[in-house]
């Protein structure tokens, strides 16, 4: 029992807590990035400009960032 409580006071618990939050937020960010990318497509369709492909690419970049965050959260922590 003492070992169980000791775990909650240990650095290992803090690391696990930090990691769980980081992964959770990274997954949420991934969902957000997908929504933004989809909405950018709709916005581009509503108003077409010559910079449309660049704007879409930058929005899509967020999905890559989100995946990067998930990988970083899982491996660096």
């Amino acid at each position: 029992m003492e070992e169980f409580f000791a775990f909650f006071n240990s650095a290992a618990f803090f690391t696990l807590f930090f990691k769980a939050f980081a992964v959770f937020f990274a997954f949420f960010y991934l969902i957000y990035a997908i929504i933004i990318t989809r909405q950018t497509q709709i916005m581009n369709k509503t108003l077409s400009t010559h910079t449309g492909p660049i704007i879409f690419a930058l929005s899509f970049l967020q999905i890559i960032f989100a995946l990067l965050l998930i990988i970083a959260s899982l491996t660096l922590l």
Binding site: F18, A22, A26, T46, T49, A72
Partner: protein, 182 residues
Amino acid sequence: MADITKPSHNISHSFNILPDVSFETQGPTETVYLVLRKHPITQIWWILNAILLPVVGLYVGNTFLPQFFTPGQLLTFNLFLIIFTFSYAWINFLLWYFTVGIITNERAVDLDFYNVLYKEFTATTIKQISEITTKIGGFIGSLFNYGTVFVKTQGFEQNMEFDLVPYPSEVVRVINDLQNQT
């Protein structure tokens, strides 16, 4: 005075004459004469936030936090901070870029994106416009020459407004010119 026979734009692309753009409900004979966005000075707060947030965050993160966190945790924290700041700036840019007022030879169109998930599209024919009012408010508005153009229509048609656009009096002049042409 803006010449509406030649394509031109200001440095921030907030006042574009004969731009190379098209919109969803554009008719085959419709020519876009003017595309208006909010004056960039009105976007200064999110731009400042986007600059200050990573600077302050990285400074605080790398000055005070190393005693509490491991290098891996700090690196992850910094990554989150930079990427979230990019997203914050990007979403604000998108809202600014796609919230436009469009004047064509046939219609005046107001396209508003209040957030990424909600858009409002208002349009009226140039002929139906009965009254145009401009409002330039405050020291900053006068200094940078931007204001809101209110376009009122006849009867029960929807009124529209182009918020905080540059050169509001030029916008009125262009609409009046187009009204005289039709």
